[in-house]
């Protein structure tokens, strides 16, 4: 019988979900160190409850516990998310263009940080962690439709908030 208490399975769960879980907490609080700590705490809780959690439910257990730990820890109203760039392709573009692009991205990051939390997390899980709507639904224990609604609202929010840059030629 496949159990979470089997270390091979447990380690597999860590490998598959560890990073995405850390990212998820980060999307909610904007603090990478805190996110890292909470991810580890959630994994510890999973091991401690390993005999009570079915292998297939481990992912949603982790996400639920992670959220709960975060709520217990800190009341956060404002978050500021920052992302790093993957290796840049040398575009040799004109500096004015680069500047506009950079401004756009900063506006975008700010808008993402300011949008409602539930929309933000679903949107980033899809965009950053490459999770399908079904994956997200499983992790958050909601329906696929609910995920779609949140992502729709996220895109709507962004579209409206970065609209003013549309007039620039990018």
């Amino acid at each position: 019988m496949d159990s979470v208490c089997d270390e091979v399975n447990y380690k597999g769960i860590f490998k598959e979900h560890g990073k995405a879980l850390r990212n998820f907490i980060y999307y909610k609080c904007g603090d990478l160190d805190r996110a890292k700590d909470i991810m580890q705490e959630a994994l510890i809780k999973l091991w401690e409850n390993c005999s009570k959690v079915e292998l297939g439910k481990a992912k949603s257990f982790l996400y639920t516990v992670g959220q709960r730990i975060l709520i217990d820890q800190v009341r956060h109203d404002k978050v500021k998310l920052e992302f790093t760039k993957k290796s840049e392709i040398n575009t040799a573009n004109d500096p004015a263009f680069e500047l506009i692009k950079k401004e756009f991205e900063q506006k975008l990051m700010r808008a993402i940080s300011e949008m409602p939390e539930t929309q933000r997390e679903a949107f980033l899980m899809n965009r950053m962690d490459n999770m399908s709507y079904k994956d997200i639904a499983d992790a958050l224990d909601i329906s696929v439709k609910a995920v779609e609604k949140r992502i729709h609202l996220a895109l709507l929010y962004l579209k409206d908030n970065v609209k003013e840059l549309k007039t620039h030629k990018i």
Binding site: F14, G18, N23, Y26, I44, F83, M128, E148, K149, I151
Partner: protein, 308 residues
């Protein structure tokens, strides 16, 4: 708002729009903005987890398991303090096994068809092959380096001092060395790659230096043999086997892939030199038996071999 409108943009993102919806979105110019947003985010990333993250989690779990001493309320009288301390210490040793009966034994297991590398608290590196496992008393390990092995493992003991591996019918004692131990319930084969290894199996013993090995077969024979120690077993797709009796090659396969090999009429003292494929059982069987004119028939986890 109709149903589809609430999820429109999400479906745009996952490319699940109807032709009509797509057209409308393009015409409004909104699709353009959305594309720009998505394109920007393509280049964003967050840092990977640190290499030692899993190890960190494990060590936090281990420290949670340790028994804690509950201090007694301090009394003024010196004698009373001494007496209560003594009582406390006595109690502690009494209840420690009850508090965490299995906390001391740490076990590492590996699955059939895989290899698993791990490091012990004393910096010893171990590779487990296939369905194998080791267990040891974590609390006492630094003082008394002893562990139990089932199956097969390769060891690199990096620090000086005695180190012991116990298995079904014997044990290996080493002093800072590299060695391989293959065990089944009745047989054992030990190879010394570096340093010095003392093997004891039932009533036999041997001291091995690099290039020497000792094995005990089912028939009861305990023999020493030589092999080329310059190629370490490793964890890659292939494991090198040098001049080894088929019986032992079969044991290696049985342990690694968790299978049972039934021999009809093959002389298992025949020697095999070659490689064991660690990724695919059928390939491994083909590469070993076909060149030796042995046919094999595989039925799930049972393989029957006979002379051609």
């Amino acid at each position: 708002m109709n149903e589809g409108e609430e999820t429109l943009l999400a479906r745009w993102l996952s490319n699940e729009l109807t032709a009509e919806e797509k057209r409308k979105l393009e015409e409004s110019g909104e699709a353009e903005t959305l594309r720009r947003i998505v394109a920007s985010m393509e280049t964003w990333t967050l840092p990977d987890l640190a290499e030692n993250t899993y190890a960190n989690i494990k060590s936090k779990l281990d420290s949670k398991n340790e028994a804690r001493v509950i201090p007694l309320y301090q009394r003024r009288s010196f004698l009373a303090i001494a007496a209560s301390l003594l009582l406390l210490v006595g109690l502690f040793f009494l209840i420690r096994p009850m508090l965490a009966p299995s906390a001391a034994i740490t076990e590492f297991a590996c699955n059939a068809g895989e290899t698993r590398e791990l490091k012990l608290p004393d910096n010893t590196n171990i590779v487990l092959y296939g369905k194998s496992k080791i267990s040891y008393d974590k609390e006492n390990f630094t003082n008394d380096r002893k562990l139990k092995l089932e199956g097969e493992a390769y060891f690199e003991v990096n620090t000086k001092g005695p180190f012991e591996v116990d298995f079904a019918n014997g044990k290996v004692n080493v002093l800072g060395t590299k060695f391989n131990v293959l065990t089944t319930s009745e047989e054992a084969a030990v190879k010394c790659f570096e340093g010095k290894v003392k093997v004891e199996v039932e009533s036999n013993s041997a001291v091995l230096v690099p290039g020497q090995g000792a094995r005990k077969t089912k028939s009861g024979n305990f023999t020493e043999f030589e092999f080329k120690p310059n190629v370490l077993p490793g964890t890659g797709a292939y494991r090198n086997i040098d001049n080894t009796p088929l019986e032992e090659v079969c044991n290696t396969l049985s342990v690694f892939y968790d299978i049972k090999i039934i021999n009809e009429n093959v002389d298992l003292t025949r020697k095999f030199s070659g490689e064991i494929n660690q990724e695919n059982l059928d390939t491994a069987l083909t590469m070993i038996f076909v060149p030796m004119d042995i046919t094999f028939v595989r039925n799930q986890k049972t393989v029957t071999i006979r002379n051609k």
